[in-house]
Subunit: 122 residues, 2 copies
């Protein structure tokens, strides 16, 4: 498929796909005229990339982890990065849960202006 179709299917922009290629996260066959052509599995790959980006990983970190996904092979360095990122995400989950609970406290303790209070839920 061409870049526009991949962008639609994966839910990202065409620009983003070119950026991923620039960051060596994604490659494409080129037609004689230079147009990119992707295989079907590229959709899942892009979604994985997006997933990792949204978890706060940088391009270079993702680039160093994708070989583990592609070849199911790891070096000591890539294993260290994998473990470290996993822990980072775990810690992030923990603080997010705390933040959510804090917001819940605020929601619970908050009342409308000039409201009598103690309205347990609505």
């Amino acid at each position: 498929m061409r870049i526009g179709e991949l962008a639609t299917k994966a839910g990202v922009s065409v620009r983003a796909l070119r950026y991923y290629e620039e960051q060596r996260l994604l490659w494409a066959e080129r037609s004689a005229s230079g147009q990119r052509h992707y295989p079907d599995p590229a959709v899942e790959r892009v979604q994985l990339i997006q997933m990792l980006y949204s978890a706060g990983l940088s391009s270079s970190t993702i680039a160093s982890l994708l070989p583990c996904v592609d070849a199911k092979e790891s070096t000591p360095e890539s294993r260290a990065i994998l473990a470290a990122e996993r822990e980072r995400i775990d810690a992030q989950i923990t603080t997010l849960i705390r933040t959510r609970d804090r917001l819940d406290d605020v929601i619970a303790s908050t009342t409308s202006p000039s409201n009598g209070c103690v309205v347990t839920h609505a």
Copy 2:
């Protein structure tokens, strides 16, 4: 306390505190010479601000929520924002858990180069 002490106690930079003030998230008394002086509870306030920033809230969103924390009073708009951000964080936790699990899969399926495989855990 002065700005340097607050920065140390709250674990942020002096520049960040001035930025928070610029964003109307924080205020300070001023001495005759113009130096900022903060009360003790400012430490917790800054930590709350940091917590919200790290959960992905923007300055303006935080600014619109802090009155709920300060006055325990909410308008329909602020209640809507509170609820929306809570849901956003909740969704973010969900996808982070999925990402973490995905990384765990990669870690589990990954082997050292030229390793025999099937080592269930170590």
